[in-house]
Symmetry: C2
Subunit: 483 residues, 2 copies
């Protein structure tokens, strides 16, 4: 065990090595079949001895993706903040469950403090909140509150026999709303996908029209899910106009700021989220841009007391009312979970360590790298932005572009040409993964008639400068040029 | 940061100190108000320096509950297995998300291996599964599959206009089913609470009658949630009889083995779960009895392919079908989460380290301690078991009892007497928490007309013997004798 710990130490040190250490690949790729051969996966008998375990851990680490390497740009998360990691390790060692003050006194207070601080950033002086197991679940909290707020009787008698209720979300929004709509009993037909503009922002007039249409069909508009920082294009939906529509029709406004919410921390960028104070609820994932360790997702609402009324089940074995301390600190009954990992403490410790201003500069550095990248993409030969020129200023730290190999340049852009371009990103991706020099995501956006393009996303850890951005674009060029 | 790490090290070592080290209290209790004074909780400016951060961590650790101390018997989890912890720290350092093979190649294979091994233990040769953020969520997976299996169109059109669907669960079952029933749109009225026998086991004839009644009311019976190891009394529902009823009426059988599922690992105790192979789905929390680090909860089903059909949303940015490896390893679309913590690896590493037989002996030791405790409770003056004599043999590692102070012994058991007895457990609990010598949960069970009683639960880490059990009972006696 001591040696496993030593290995963990060894790993951690390497992980936090300076970003210019490119002596190790970001991934040492093996196919599922090869990896199954390399790793002695099977369980049963006999038990492995210490030496074997150490070797196993070393192999697992070796074939895992080094997400802390700056060349890992594949998802909306990446490297992990050192203080956040310290917080994570501490809570792992203490193995605490965050349901009552009784078992998690200090962590309960830290969670409450950080939630209140975030609510203040949003512009609310009261309200409530909870940390959840990821943004998909935080979004579900928003939907659950929206329904309970309008129809508390659904908690007792369900949706049967009711008029269909409808959720509105943009065509560029995250799929978690669609998944939640199934579990929550709405059905995906009752999620209206509102068209977006060429940057991926919800069109308010389209939302208005959609609400009217739903009303005329005899269905009941319930809630709007607006996004601050869409997953692919990084769009911020126009909250003031959306809030007006919600107000007019009495709809709950949930803001999915899982990705783009970090803008709140920055005087330079929080204008992107103007109007967020008019939301009923907000979800934000500090484990994305800010580099809090996975999982770290928070849900806040400006409605005081609603979370408890909506979700409580009053289990007598956990939430005894005859305890000898103020049981309002037993937050567990607000949750849809029972046991709940201590995620709030990680963010609290990061906030203590960096302060408001330290977090702000992490966000500013991240946006600056993204803006530099967007600018390069608009200038470099062979790179072609997906968004219209100049529109990057309103986006989150995403840069979307096609790479056009030399053989495809200067040709007529027929359907056949686009088809050939659509094959480029997957092939470049395969090449980068096999060589371990970079990992960047790609995807098509069918509703924008966009074939496979790259999405380069920027996160705060490790901090990225121009040299790293240049490296990434050079590498894509190197691998794609001759396709 | 290095010093924060050193502190983490220091903590871990103390946490895993031998169980007889009683030089530190299990908790150093402060009220919420006192603790808010002691901890500099506020966030903002200025940032704390390293020395302050270290001090903060030390204080948070000091006022946190030492769940790894054998005197922590307050919940269904406790100390953490050293190998599991090593696995947790490794995944924290690697900061990996478990949604695609691309970003988590080794972890995806470990998860698949451990899920298949558990399915084999249950008795299934095929099927599917996933790790979830706790047992409440694992149970939700069961309910989601039950509905999708019968009514796939609910995924598209929702529950509106349908006949009410009904879930059956015992009156002693965990409240997560009730919470899920709200979120999933059933409403809590459509959860039928089936009566249990005096040990807390679902009565099959009562289930039969309940199904008939629901049918006669024009509602639609959908699924039964049977429990293996109820939260308070530790009852195992009689699966064969319940499975017969499910078969007769075409109901989905979900088994909540979150607490008692560890019995599967033991030749001596797996008879408690006879019939589990007839279930459609099973939830089990290795973070409970087995001491895997929180959170570690798994969901398995014998239906191949259903999890994907039910939950997929085919996000193109994550689950591209034109990848260069076999994308059936991209398990993320089976999940209701998007990002998902790597929980399976912790259990996989524990299994490698202990082997089947090592885990078996952990379970056997745990049950033996519980049986010894139950025996002592039935013999000791002032201790009074909640369950009828001899019935412990069929229960999980829970021991439920009243402690009757000397002043209450040998008296007529009037309502007033029971009322006075109901005040004993909270007062003893307060005394133990304030002195930091023990933490044991208590609760009433109104449906059994049982006023506040203690629930002593046994978990595998640290291993407990007779000396520790004697200490616990002595301590309750010491604190309660003169009340
Ligand atoms: C029987 C049972 N099922 C499910 C759960 C929920 O598990 P979790 O706390 O991981 O959500 C519990 C928790 O105590 C339980 O006792
Ligand atoms: C906009 C947006 N919302 C929600 C989520 C879901 O967050 P999580 O992965 O924590 O469930 C994501 C994930 O990428 C996202 O991009």
């Amino acid at each position: 065990f001591q040696r496993v710990m030593a290995l963990v130490d060894e790993l951690r040190l390497t992980e936090s090595a300076p970003p210019d250490r490119r002596d190790r690949p970001v991934i040492e790729f093996r196919s599922p079949e090869e990896l199954s051969q390399l790793l002695p996966l099977a369980l049963g008998e006999p038990a492995s001895d210490e030496a074997e375990l150490l070797q196993l851990c070393r192999q697992v680490a070796r074939y895992s993706v080094r997400t802390s390497d700056f060349r890992f740009r594949n998802q909306l998360y990446g490297g992990v903040d050192g203080y956040g990691l310290a917080g994570a390790l501490l809570t792992e060692c203490l193995n605490t469950n965050q349901h009552t003050f009784e078992v998690a006194p200090a962590f309960i207070l830290c969670e409450a403090t950080v939630l209140a601080h975030v609510r203040r950033l949003i512009g609310w002086s009261s309200g409530d909140g909870i940390f959840a197991a990821g943004g998909s679940m935080s979004n579900q909290y928003g939907l659950a509150l929206a329904r309970y707020h309008r129809h508390p009787q659904v908690k007792t008698s369900g949706l049967f026999g009711l008029r269909p209720m409808v959720l509105f979300t943009s065509e560029d929004a995250h799929y978690s709303v669609l998944k939640a709509a199934h579990w929550h009993g709405y059905g995906q037909e009752n999620v209206v996908s509102v068209p977006t503009d060429e940057c991926g922002r919800m069109r308010p007039e389209a939302l208005s029209a959609a609400v009217e249409r739903v009303l005329s069909e005899g269905r009941e508009p319930l809630a709007v899910n607006a996004t601050c920082g869409t997953t692919v294009l990084g769009a911020y939906d126009p909250l003031p106009a959306i809030a007006d529509i919600c107000q007019q029709h009495g709809l709950w406004l949930h803001v999915d700021a899982c990705w783009g919410g970090a803008a709140l921390l920055s005087r330079q960028w929080r204008h992107l989220m103007a109007g967020v104070e008019r939301a009923d609820s907000v979800a934000w994932n500090p484990h994305k841009m800010l580099g809090a360790p996975l999982q770290c997702s928070l849900f806040v609402t400006r409605h005081d007391g609603l979370l408890h009324q909506c979700n409580s089940a009053q289990a007598t074995y956990l939430f005894q009312q005859d305890k000898f301390y103020d049981v309002s600190h037993d937050t567990g009954d607000k949750s849809i979970q029972c046991g709940r990992k201590v995620d709030g403490f990680k963010l609290w410790l990061m906030w203590k360590a960096h302060g408001d201003s330290g977090l702000e500069s992490m966000v500013d550095t991240t946006f600056a790298a993204a803006r530099y990248c967007a600018d390069q993409v608009s200038r470099r030969d062979g790179f072609r932005p997906v968004l219209p020129p100049g529109s990057d200023a309103g986006q989150c730290a995403n840069v979307s572009f096609w790479y056009v190999p030399a053989a495809l340049r200067g040709q007529e852009e027929t359907p056949e040409w686009w088809h050939r371009l659509s094959l480029v990103a997957p092939r470049v991706k395969e090449a980068m993964v096999r060589s371990g020099t970079l990992m960047v995501g790609y995807q098509p956006l069918p509703h924008k008639q966009a074939v496979n393009f790259f999405r380069l996303v920027f996160t705060a850890v490790p901090p990225l400068g121009r040299a790293e951005v240049d490296y990434m674009l050079d590498e894509i060029e190197r691998l794609g040029r001759d396709l």
